[in-house]
Every structure is written in C-alpha cells, then in structure tokens.
C-alpha cells in the first residue's frame, strides 16, 4: 500500500477546474516531483494534502487513513505532513530560534530547553546555528529558506511537501537550499516537490509527474520523462523549458 494515495480528486475555483479527477500515489521514501505550467495546480495539490485547502471530490489517503473531508483533525495531520513555501513565510517578529521552536513547544508540548537544543542541533546541521538569535530580516533568501525547512523538520514530519522552494531565490542561493533537499532524500524522507528546477528534479526524483488539465497527464521515472516523453503536451512543455535555457 502506498504511503500517500490521491484518488480521483476534484476541485474548482468557480468555473475553473483545478483538479479534474487527479490521482497519484507516493511510496514511502519516494521523492516525487510535480512539474507543469503555471496554474496547473502543483501548489494547490500540495496545499490540499496538508489541509490548507479543501478538495471537493475524491479522497486523499495518507498512511492508509482518509485525510480529506469532514472530521479530519487537520492539526494532527499537519504534524505528520510538513510544508515549506516558496516565500519562506518565516515569522518576522521572532528570531530564527523562536521560529523553529514555536510549534514544537506550543503544539508538541516539548519544554523550551529540549526544543531549543533540538533546534540548535538542526540549525548546526545546516550551518546556521550562529544565526539563531537573528531576526529573519537579517538573513539572505537562501538562509531564510533553509530555516523554513528546519522549522518544518523540527516537528518530525513523516512527509515533507516543498512548494517551489527555490523560485524566489537568487540563482547563486539555490544550491544551498537544494543541498538540504538532496540530504533529506538520501536519508529517506518522503517528499513531494512542486518545482521548476528541472535539472534538480532529474537528479533527485524517483518519479516525475507532469500535471496538465487537472490531472497527472504523464508520469514516470525522470530518465524517461526528460529524454523520451510519450505525451505531446509534456514534450511541448519541456521544449519551452529548453528554449528558456533552464534544462
């Protein structure tokens, strides 16, 4: 049984159908990359998976349990499914350390010393323990995004959703963030990435899903999708990425 099963989900914003019977499975320890044109629903799919948005039809099962629809304890769900956003969304009025320890203390009920020790350990792992007392404003985009990843990891999630986490970064800062994702993949974290970094997707993904028309239009291992896509739409999309010099 797959760790995440998305079955036939539908969702519309007014007339516009974001998902039109989309299905997708993610095995444990898999890294799945969602690619596709802007507005195809990559981000929305991730946001639906941890309850930040609701779906209108179908179901999402995580670890065999139905995690969509009424009656789901979304706060508990979100402890299992962490998310990192494109714009980092660190809390500007808190230091780095406070950002990372807020949820472990308030949600998991860890005592502050324990949470801080753990947070400092994680910050040290990404080389930012010297920034623990700084406010996010003082950090570069890449540093902020690394802190945001650590903030999500501090909750000990079973799945990590990464929503275009390098799209807002200056090019030279992208690698420091992707290195962390690489390490997480190597350590076996189950991850879903919405991304425009095709080179990175090709390297790190176990599976590429091309979203189009409210569905997974084509999926497969990166070696096949990038070199030999079967669908016309996928080919056209990748062609434009190549024209833009991004692949």
């Amino acid at each position: 049984m797959a760790m995440i099963e998305i079955r036939n989900i539908t969702k519309s914003y007014g007339e516009f159908k974001v998902f039109n019977g989309l299905s997708l499975e993610v095995e444990e320890h898999q890294v799945v990359c969602l690619i596709g044109p802007s507005g195809c629903g990559k981000s929305t799919l991730l946001r639906c998976m941890n309850g930040l948005e609701t779906i209108q039809g179908g179901e999402i099962r995580i670890h065999g349990d139905r995690m969509s629809g009424p009656g789901v304890d979304v706060n508990a769900l979100r402890r299992d499914v962490g998310i990192v956003f494109q714009s980092y969304n660190l809390f500007p009025h808190m230091t780095v350390l406070e950002n990372v320890t807020l949820a472990p203390v308030k949600v998991l009920g860890q005592n502050r010393a324990e949470a801080e020790a753990k947070a400092l350990h994680l910050l040290k792992r990404i080389g930012l323990e010297h920034k623990a007392k700084e406010y996010p404003d003082r950090l570069s985009g890449g540093q902020q995004q690394r802190v945001a990843i650590v903030r999500a990891l501090a909750m000990g999630p079973m799945v990590l959703l990464l929503d275009e986490i390098t799209s807002a970064l200056d090019p030279e800062l992208v690698s420091e963030v992707l290195n962390i994702v690489r390490d997480l993949a190597a350590e076996g974290m189950t991850m879903l990435l919405a991304t425009h970094e095709m080179g990175f997707a090709r390297e790190v993904a176990s599976k590429i899903c091309f979203l189009y028309g409210g569905k997974v239009h084509e999926e497969g291992p990166p070696s096949r999708i990038f070199s030999n896509p079967t669908e016309e739409r996928t080919r056209a999309f990748l062609q434009r990425i190549i024209e833009a010099g991004r692949l």
Partner: protein
Amino acid sequence: MASTDDSREGGPAASLLGGDRHWSAGTPPKDVTGWSITALFVTILVVFAAWSTLSGIHSALSTVKSESLIGTAILVLCGVAVLALFRPAVQSWRQAQEAKRTLAGSDMVGARVATAASREFAYVTFGYAAVVVILLAVAQFFIANNLAVSQTFFQLSLIGSSLALTLKAFWTNIYIFVVAEILVLIWGLIVAIARLLPGDAARPVRLISTIYTDMFRGLPAIINIYLIGFGIPLTGLPVLKDLSPESYAILALTLTYGAYVAEVYRSGIESIHWSQVAAARSLGLSYMQTLRYVVVPQAVRRIIPPLLNDFIGLQKDTALVNVIGSIDAFNQARIIASNHFNLSPVTTVALLFILITIPQTRLVDRLIERDQRRMRAGGN
C-alpha cells in the same frame, strides 16, 4: 495554453524601435529672472507688513500700560529678524543673473546649475514668507480691539491663581483615561477576535459583535456618558447604581472606544498576509494559537499609530464627563471662569490636554523606531 511559436502581428520588417526618435534633453534652461523679482517684491511687502504689526503690538501694550524694556527689545528683535527674508531673495536674484551670464558664454551646464539654484532660493523665500504672513495674522487677531483677545483667553494673573485647582481636577481626567485605556485595549481585542472567528458556528458571535461596533461607533460619546451616568443610578440595579460618576464615565468611554479600537485591531489583524497564517497553521498551530503567537503580535506593531489616535481622542473626551457633574479639569475651570468672567482657566485646561498628547506621540514614534531597528539589526 498557447502554442510554442507565437505568431507575430504586423507583417514583415516591423521594427521594434519605431521611426521617430531624437534627443530632447539638451535644451537650454528657462529664464528665472521673473521668479527672483517676485521673491524680492514679496519680501519687501512682508517686511513692511511685519513692521506695521510690530508697531501695532507696541502701541497696544502701551495703552494697557504693560510695556516693558524687554518687551520692546523683543519686538525690535523680531523686526530685525524678518529682514533675513532678504537673504534667499537676493541670492535668487544673483543666481538668475549668473544664469544669464553663463548662458551668454554658452556654458550650458553652469547655466542649468545657476537656474536651479535661483529657483530653489525663490521657493525658499516664498515658503518662509507664507509662514511669516500666517504669524502676522495671528498677532493681529490677538491685538485687535485693544488686546481684547489676549485679555479674554490669556490673563496671566488668573491662570496663575487658578492653576493649582485646575491641575488637581485634571487628575480626574487622567484617572479616567488611564483606566479606560487599559480596559479598551482588552475589550477591543475581544470584540475584534469575536468578529473574525471563522466557521458557521461563530456566525451569531460575528453578527453580535458587528452590531456592537456599528452601534457604539455611531453613538456620540457625550450621549453615551449621559445615558449611563444618569440612567444606571435610576435603574436601582444592585452594585451598579452606587458607582461614582467617574466609574460611569470609564464604563461609557470603554464601550465607545472599545468599538473604535476593535476596528483598529481588526484592520491590523487582516493586514497580516495570509501566508503567515498558512505557515503557522501548517505547523499544526490551532486557529487561536496562530492568532496569539503569530498574527496579533505582528498586528499590534502595525496598529500602534492608529491606536494612539484613538487614545488621544479618548483622553480629550474625558472632558465630556462634566455633563454628569464630575469635577474634572474642564468643569473646574468653567466654575472659576464664570466666577471671574474670564476664560483664561479654560485656556489652561486646553493647554494641559495639548501638553499631555505631545510626549505620547513622541514616545510612540520612538517605540516604533526602536522595534524596527531591533528587527533589522538582529541580535539582542
């Protein structure tokens, strides 16, 4: 989704640059002699007006036998000081001449620099002249009718003799607004959060808090104080009927300003970008935890300036308690004023109200600045 090769309109060889392009930034500067002459003319007018007003003040003071050497010295000093207006006006004229000369010598850059300087000096002249004119108008008002205005509002002997009594009564105002402000801070936040509660279950709560804010923002504070101050004792309700007039005032002002401040809180909370809420909720924080730790702390920083506005309004409205017979500073001053047929004690109260707001404004500016510096500078 559009196809890969977009078709381009306009047929072949349509240039992106268009045909008609030429430089236009190299024209010589406009002549500014007119501006500098106007500046000189305005200066002469203002100086004469000032001298005539100053001599008017001098003769008004001598008719009421309150001239003194120091007073005359100050007037003469003012008369000399106003001559300073000539400085920028003359500079403007000189630069205008300089501009003409350099332009004749075909030094375009020098001409531009001189023109800009001349214009700037002319504007400086106008700016200062305008302020002097306003001050002169105020002075004329004060000396009109043999210093009638000054005597009515600023009789120093009466201000001095009534100051102690007025100050003592001003403590009532301070007591009322300090207690009311604390209550308003709490009550306003409760109302704002009630109004922002999500979900169907909270619909009636949202409705009632909306009705409350609409009602008490619309109701004039003076009517509210009057109704509560006179009405509650009449109801004979236990405990409530025996409160002091000050307590009724605090209650009434809390209800009125609670409605204003609730709206300030609400706008502050709504101004926090939804991505902050998304980040907090995605970490498993509940709605209330998100408000408590993420949204409200950020909102409070943003609403401090409008909050101060409302607090200054509240402080001033403590003067309304005289309608229910509380002896506040205004009421006290009115009693003294009617005994002496002179409004100077009321002027004292007016000045007191102004004086207490200024340090608050400066303090809040400092706090905001410090907070921003802390967030930028990092470390602590």
